[in-house]
Symmetry: D2
Subunit: 242 residues, 4 copies
C-alpha cells in the first residue's frame, strides 16, 4: 500500500511570486510534490493555505501518512485551530516533514515547545551537508557529504530541543554551521526537519535532497496499526492489593 | 547569592480542601515551599492562581531563578497569556520544576509539545523509586532506591518526548512502572518533572523527595550571565565572499 | 532478499543441561533460532562456542546481517580475538541482538564501554513489560504491555550508557524495575538488548517475545549498500586555501 | 575542597619535540597543566607515559577527581592494564577529559566502544567553534562562537556514539565541520571530548579554550560521596512472594 503524502505550502503555483516561478514553474509546492509523484510507493496530494480550512480538513489528514510543510512569510495566517488539528494528528501518529523556513512555523513551534529561531542571511552561499548518521534509514544511499551550490544561510544556535537523532550538519562558505537534518519523535508521530529549500534557489532539483525527502517520508509514515487516545485515562490495578 | 525560588500552586492554603489541609496544614503550596524555606541558599516566594496575573507578573518572573509548579483540577483556568509568559521565561533561561499532576498543565504541554497524558488510579499504592543516573546532580545524596508509603499511581505510557536525561523509574505495587524523574532542556531553560505529590498523601514529608527537589532547584537555576532574544536574527557573513 | 540471521549460543543442544532441555528440547540455541526459521524473510544459521573460531569465522560474519547472542556462564571462554572480530563487524554495520544474560558478555561490554552489571535474583518472578515507544519499528504489533509468567529478576541500576532509544521497562512482582528493551547505535551498527530469556523458564515461547525479536532483526539488519573503513583517514581540503 | 586534576601526556617537557617546545616551552603537558595551576579551586598534578605505570598508579588515580588526557603518536605504547585501570576508575566516577588527538587513544575507544576515527589534515586552517548548548555548565561564560586562528582539521564522520550532550560544532575554512565538544556519561563517570590542541599550534593559549577546560573539570569532577562496585550482585526480593 502506498504511503499517502500530503504536500502543503502557503502558496499554490498561481499565488507564487514571479521570482519563485522563474526557478520552480509550479511553485515550491509543485517542486516538492514532484519529488514524490509518479512513484508507486507514494500517493501524493497537494494542499495550500488559501483553500478552505487551509486545505487540511479532518478528511485530508485522516488519509495522510506524512504531511510535508513549507511556509515562510505567512506563518501567522495559518489559523490556530488548524495548527491544533495538525498537532493532534502528529501526536496520534501522522508523520511530519518540515522544510527550510518552516522552522519558525506555528506547527514546528508547537511540537518543539521552543521558538525554533536561528541566525540567517541570504547571500547564495554554498552549503555542504555532512551525513552524521550514515546508517539511519533517512540517509540510505546518500554520500558522506554533498553540496548545494547556493542556499540561504541558517546558522546556530538553532533553538530546538536536542534532536532524538542528528543526521546532518551543514557547512556554509560564509562561515557558519547548522544542524541541517534532525529527527524528533512526539507522541506517536515522527518529525523530520530539513534545512534546504529557499524559494528562489534550486535545492529541490538536487538529487540528494530528493532522495532524503523520499527516505524521510518512508521513515515518518504513520503506522496504521497504531491508534491512540490523547488524554489521560483511569487504569484499574494490574495486581490485586495485598 | 541565593537561588530565587517561586513556588506556585493553583490553591493557596485558604483555598485548599479540608482533606488536603488534614495532611498539609499550609496546603500543598506551603508544604512545597517549606522544602526550601529557612535555608540561606534559597530565597523563597509563593504565588497562586487567584492572585492578579495568577501571581506571575513580569516582575516576579524577572526575579525568579526557578519556578516550581503544582496544579491539578484548575489547569484550564490558568490564562493562556500567563502560560505564554512563563514559557518565554523558560526559553530565556528560567528553571521550571513540574510536580505530580502538573504533568498535564498547560505549561508542561506547551514546553513538551505533547499531551503529557498517562494512565492513573488512586489507591494509595506503595511506590518505590529507583535512581537510574546516580551521578546526576539532582540525585546527589539519594540512595539507590527509596519508598513512598502511598502514592497515586501514574503509569506508562507517559506521553512525553524522550527525556534529555531519565533519572528515576517508579515501581508500583499495583503492577505499573513510570518514568518518575525526568530532565528536559528547552531554549536556555532546564525543566525537571517529578512524579510524587498527591495532595492527600504524605510524599512531601519524605526526606528523599525534599532532597531531590532542592537539588533540582540548584540544577535548574537560571544562569544570570546568559541572556537571549527569542526571535531569528539577521547575521552578517562571518567570512568574506570569495 | 532475506535477512541473514546468525543465532549464537555458548551451548549447542547436545551441550545443554538437562534442566534446560526439559524446557527447550533444542536448547536455548534452538529455541531462539526457531523464532526465525521457516519464514522466507529470514535465512537462519546457528553457531556456538565449541565450534572452530567459536562458530564465528570471517566467512560466517561476512554473510551475517544480524547476529543474535545468548551467553551466560561461559562469557570468559569466548576468545578475545573473536570478540574483536565481532565488534569490528558491528562497527562496519552488522546488527547485534543481545539476549538476557548476554548483558555481561564481552561483546556487550566492549560495545558499551561499561560493565553492564545489574542486580538479580532467580525466583520465577512475574515480569510485566511496558512499551515505552509504541511507534518504534521493534514494537510494531506489540500491545501496551505484556506479561511473562516467570523470569529471572534483573534490576536497576543497569550499568549501560543511556540508550539511544528506551523501548521497554519491566516491572517485577518482587519489587524491582528494569530497562528491559534498549537500542544502541555504534559505528554503522545497530544493537538491541532484550531482557527475557532465562534458560529454564519459558519466555521464548511467548508470542510477544518472538514478535519483538523478529522486528528487532529487521530493524538491526545491516544495510549492505554501506561499507566503511574503521581507521582515521587523510582528507584533502574541500575548499581552496584563501 | 579543590578539584584534584591529573594532567596526563604521552610526553613530558623533556621528551617533547623541538617544534612543540617552540610553541609550548613546557610541552603540551605543561601548557594544559597551566590552565589549572595557580587557582585555589584546582589541585594539579602531571603524569606521563615514561613514568612507572605510565604515571597512573592506583594511588594517583585514587586521588584524582578528573584526568585530562592528551596523546597522539604513542597510543599503542600505553599498557593495556593501565587502560583497564583508568576505565574502571571512570566507571566508578572519575571524570575524564580527552583532548584533540586523544580521540583515537585506547581509553577513548574503550569507553566509547567505537573506533573514534575521523577525517583529518594539517593545514593550519581557521576553526570557528559554535556553542550549541549555551546553558550547559561547560559553556558558561563562552560567547556564541569563537575562533582559533589555526588548527588541525578534524572532519566528520566522527565515529562516536551519539553524545549525551553535543555542546559545540566546529567550522573549518577548508570546508569541513566537526562535533568539537561532546559530553558522554559512562558508569558513574563523566567524559568530555574537546577537539582543539594540535601540538604545534597555539590553541591552548586561547582564553575560551582555557575557560571551557576549567568548566569541564568542574563538571566532570568525581562526586566523592558516591562509590560503587562494578560487578553484578545478588539482590534479595524487595517484596514478599505472594
Amino acid at each position: 500500500m502506498p504511503v499517502s503524502v500530503t504536500v502543503w505550502n502557503e502558496d499554490c503555483a498561481a499565488e507564487s511570486a514571479e521570482k519563485v516561478l522563474a526557478v520552480y514553474p509550479q511553485g515550491v509546492l509543485g517542486a516538492v510534490a514532484a519529488l514524490y509523484e509518479g512513484r508507486p510507493e507514494f500517493a501524493v496530494r497537494t494542499a495550500w493555505l488559501s483553500q478552505p480550512e487551509a486545505g487540511l480538513t479532518e478528511e485530508v489528514l485522516e488519509d495522510t501518512d506524512v504531511l510535508v510543510w513549507w511556509g515562510h512569510g505567512k506563518h501567522h495566517l495559518v489559523p490556530d485551530e488548524i495548527v491544533t488539528r495538525v498537532q493532534r494528528r502528529v501526536l496520534r501518529g501522522m508523520g511530519l516533514i518540515v522544510l527550510h523556513s518552516g522552522h519558525e512555523s506555528k506547527i514546528m513551534q508547537r511540537l518543539m515547545g521552543t521558538q525554533c529561531s536561528l541566525r540567517w542571511h541570504e547571500n547564495k552561499d554554498k552549503e555542504r551537508i555532512f551525513v552524521i548518521e550514515p546508517s539511519h534509514p533517512i540517509m540510505r544511499g546518500v554520500p558522506a557529504w554533498f553540496e548545494l551550490e547556493a542556499e540561504e544561510m541558517y546558522g546556530e544556535r538553532f533553538d530546538i530541543p536536542a534532536p532524538d537523532a542528528l543526521l546532518g550538519i551543514g557547512w556554509y562558505e560564509s562561515g557558519d554551521v547548522f544542524r541541517s537534518a534532525c529527527c524528533f519523535e512526539r507522541g506517536y508521530g515522527k518529525i523530520f526537519y530539513f534545512q534546504p529549500g529557499h524559494e528562489t534557489l534550486r535545492s529541490y532539483y538536487n538529487p540528494n535532497v530528493g532522495l532524503i525527502l523520499r527516505n524521510a517520508a518512508r521513515w515518518a509514515a504513520r503506522d496504521r496499526t497504531l491508534d491512540r487516545t490523547l488524554g489521560s485515562e483511569f487504569a484499574p490495578s494490574l495486581e490485586e492489593k495485598r
